[in-house]
Symmetry: C2
């Protein structure tokens, strides 16, 4: 007999993973053990999820029977213990629809949601020498030209990498409680990111001047203050390195930042570690995703080239982000050449206090506060924008991928068949060995070769023009997947402001506390809008540049064909 | 019980339609009635065909049973009665293979053979006003882009249009017999064309000076003497005419020859009549085929344009042929404007004596005779050439036709899908109404339009470049279909020479008679080689011009695409 409970107070789900329950409804429990005040169960509508343990009264107690009858809870995994890597609070049935994109249906596509592929590396001193960068595999395969043009190394929907940190933080912060209530759902991004703790005034820490992150008012609204020391960083062709007398081998990338001109060598696992640090530290910044891991063939040229390309894009977005580019851990990654200093910096980064909730403390904003209604409408507009951009990126990716495939197969074949037929005609004509037909025969034969070459050009071209566009789209799909979380944090803050205002009316909280909440929400809003502004800026920059590159390549391609044909045409002049 | 016969003398088949039979072999007869001395039957190897009636002895006579058991003879149709239009002595099982041309198999393709589509018009005064040019239909359908790229208005293999004339002539000539035997098979082109009668010295007629046709020795061998009055003739857009107060309508073509500058109006049926006259008159000249008839839709624009194109090609080949261009009936066709004179000329042409066998009387050759062995090897070489050219023309046609189809469907679709996806992306971007992204949005939208237009260009292009090449190939496939007959006439003459030489050795014929045969064979050889030379000359001219046109069009096409793309690229400059 399953464990059951009667609902004492109505509860409306606010976050994924939660279910709504009605007063007096009887719910089935999957375990009698609550998870930090939450129970998992199934409500009368058959929905399974979490609800507050204090809202229900358990009806029957038969622990032994319940343990046998109920399947192991999806929510009782390692996630709550701090591991979090396989934890996936959101499972979206629409994730499959990703593959179903067609030209006609893109407009009605839902925002695709997929469990996050990246596993967070927390790093410890002794795992540095393991080859975990390549040994563990996500279920990935060489992308090639998949018809649906799926993204390669990005994911959709809210990712889970902030979980372990925020959970730990959440428990610490639970000790001090404000009058405006905390969100009961520990799976909410607002909570996980530290946004809630910050808004409620629970974050504390000493902010050094050097750590200050400024938001300024630009022409179009809040912006991150520009990096006064802009730099770029090139990534050279990676080389294969061995250690333990050749027993182990790995790929090493040489990075040369322009501001130091001093090369450092990094492995994929270092990128992975850095990525985890950044994601943990910056709640409202879209950290670009690093290229995905690969189980097999990690020394294959194609894979190496693809990963390098992905890392170059990643580096480009990192170094052009005013906040990310300047942060300590990234600078450490880019500049540290000494092994001992590297380990120290690594430890320091892992113990960084100014992450999550405390990160918000480092933000300084213009004095004039934002109009919250205006902020809300801007955020809502951006939410619509990301959805539309995500849908159309997916559609463009699928279309270009198919176009590339067609050029590499059908187009190539057609032109080469034409070339072959001209060659066959010239061979027939060569049977007539009269001098006056010789030059024609040669010209037709040459024309055949030209068409053969054109076919080859068609097959080679997508690498030059379509692939880079698809890479860009992939990168942006990664960013777009970050934004639901970022928006969620801002929305959560806004909700707290509204709550506090209501509570003031009801006399439940004091003005100063409500003002504090509003001030801190203002900071989050500034940061969010600055990040959105940055997104649009680099989007316009990147897409302009990429479209220009695409068209230049296409023009060059057709000019190449034209000059080939002109060469062939000349052969017919010779009498 | 079927009728059977025992073979008295061995007979080797020399022509299509005949079968070989061995002495003492028993053959099955399909009818006891002989056809001008020939019987139809099946030999011991299961081959069905004709053999001389006098070579066999009929074994059993049961006419009633035989009539019931044997299927109606394929060879007892109207052909022998002189109608000839549906008569098809050769039925080649390989004709179907036409449709099976593939890239890999072309090399081993047999020379395709198809029954001739054209029906010969003998013309009489009173049928001129009938609409028989359009009313009777061959089994044709709009060609469009059939995957196999079948020829449109030409046929393969020996055609039957000479049959009725030559049969009639054959019977007349049978009255005077030489010592060198005549070919027993009345279906042989050698016989039908009048070639045999001429070689045997049976042709006679008065040749006016103006009718003389000269073969001269050119740099590469015998050539037709050039037309001293070269001209071309343009065919204007046809107009629809009506008569009988609008009861009947037809299409009229305005022809304007350059040497008269005086336009004449002709209908399709006039072309058809002229074609029949030319085919009858010139045994060793490849008369270009006129465009096929069409049953329905004969006033439809597409069809009219296609027929006009075909007539222009036809006219081009007619006017550039040194013999055809100058012949009376063609000049009459091109220049006569008076209705009464037209009818007189028409009657005269139909009563022309210098056709078939007598045509050869009009040929004057250089005095030095040709080396017959050299002639034989040239003719054999040309035979191989035509076979190879026919195979490869068929292959090129099929390939280009498929290429055209791909451009009009797949290529167009792919480029337009890319265009559509760019438009969708720009629509997503337009949701962000910040001024700094506006010009990018417009540029991407414009790029979408450009790719849409490129798709349209791909679909339109085949009309400009591939269609004319395919038209040329079709025309040449028509010529190539004429050559087996032409070669056959020359081969027949050569065989007679060899026979006569053998007979001299055996004392069966006198020297003067053998010399006469050799001289007349020499004339046929001169004419054949001159015609072959002309073929190569126009082939080189036409294919050079057409390939140049093709490449120029292709270059123009890719330049158009390039400039479209450049236009799109410029849109991204605008900041």
């Amino acid at each position: 007999m399953a464990l059951r409970a009667r609902v004492l107070y109505e509860f409306s789900s606010e976050n994924p993973g939660e279910i709504s329950v009605k007063e007096n409804e009887v719910v089935t429990l999957h375990s009698e053990q609550d998870i930090e005040g939450w129970l998992e169960g199934t409500n009368g509508r058959g929905e399974r999820g979490l609800f507050p343990a204090s809202y229900v009264e358990v009806l029957q107690r038969d622990a032994a029977a319940a343990a046998a009858a109920a399947p192991p809870s999806r929510y009782s995994g390692g996630g709550l213990a701090g591991g979090g890597s396989s934890f996936s609070p959101r499972t979206d049935p629409q994730a499959d629809s990703l593959a179903k994109v067609t030209a006609m249906s893109f407009a009605t596509l839902p925002v695709p949601q997929q469990p996050h592929k990246h596993q967070v590396s927390h790093g410890s001193e002794d795992d540095w020498d393991d080859d975990w960068d390549d040994g563990v595999a996500a279920a990935d395969e060489p992308a090639g030209y998949a018809p649906a043009g799926g993204p390669d190394f990005e994911s959709y929907g809210p990712s889970t990498y902030r979980l372990s940190t925020s959970m730990a933080r959440g428990s610490q912060q639970a000790k001090s409680s404000g009058t405006v209530g905390r969100n009961l759902n520990r799976f909410s991004t607002f909570v996980k990111s530290g946004g809630e703790a910050f808004v409620l005034g629970e974050a504390s820490g000493f902010v050094k001047d050097g750590d200050k992150i400024c938001v300024v008012m630009g022409k179009h609204g809040p912006e991150w203050q520009e990096n006064p020391y802009p730099f770029t960083c090139c990534i050279d062709d990676p080389t294969k390195q061995t250690k333990f007398k050749g027993m182990k081998s790995y790929i090493s990338y040489k990075l040369t930042p322009t501001h130091t001109q001093s090369p450092v060598h990094r492995r994929y696992k270092h990128f992975d570690w850095l990525y985890a640090r950044l994601v943990e530290k910056f709640p409202v910044i879209s950290v670009p995703h690093i290229p995905e891991k690969q189980a097999t063939g990690r020394f294959e040229e194609d894979f190496i080239a693809k990963r390098r390309k992905g890392l170059i894009w990643w580096m480009n977005h990192m170094s052009s982000h005013p906040v990310l580019a300047r942060c300590d851990v990234f600078q450490h990654f880019l500049t540290c050449t000494d092994e001992k200093a590297w380990k120290q910096g690594k430890r320091k980064a892992e113990k960084d206090e100014m992450v999550g909730a405390s990160f918000f403390l480092t933000i300084s904003t213009p004095t004039a506060p934002l109009d919250l209604q205006d902020v809300e409408s801007r955020i809502d507009g951006f939410k619509v924008f990301t959805k539309k951009m995500d849908d159309s990126s997916l559609y463009v990716s699928a279309t270009l991928s198919e176009f590339a495939r067609k050029q590499m197969t059908g187009f190539k074949k057609e032109y080469q068949k034409v070339g072959q037929s001209f060659k066959v005609l010239s061979q027939a004509f060569e049977l007539d060995q009269q001098p006056f037909s010789e030059s024609l025969n040669q010209a037709i034969s040459f024309t055949g070769e030209v068409y053969d070459a054109i076919g080859e050009h068609f097959a080679e071209q997508p690498k030059q023009d379509l692939d880079p566009v698809m890479d860009l789209l992939t990168l942006y799909q990664g960013h777009l997947a970050n934004y639901p979380d970022i928006i969620h944090v801002q929305k959560g803050a806004l909700t707290k402001v509204k709550e506090s205002q209501k509570h003031i009316e009801e006399g439940k909280v004091e003005h100063p506390q409500a003002e504090g909440i509003q001030e801190r929400c203002n900071i989050i809003s500034f940061a969010t809008l600055a990040e959105i502004h940055h997104f649009h800026q680099i989007r316009v920059r990147d897409f302009r540049a990429q479209m220009q590159h695409f068209l230049q390549e296409q023009i060059g391609f057709f000019q190449k064909i034209t000059s080939k044909l002109e060469e062939a045409l000349k052969k017919y002049d010779d009498p």
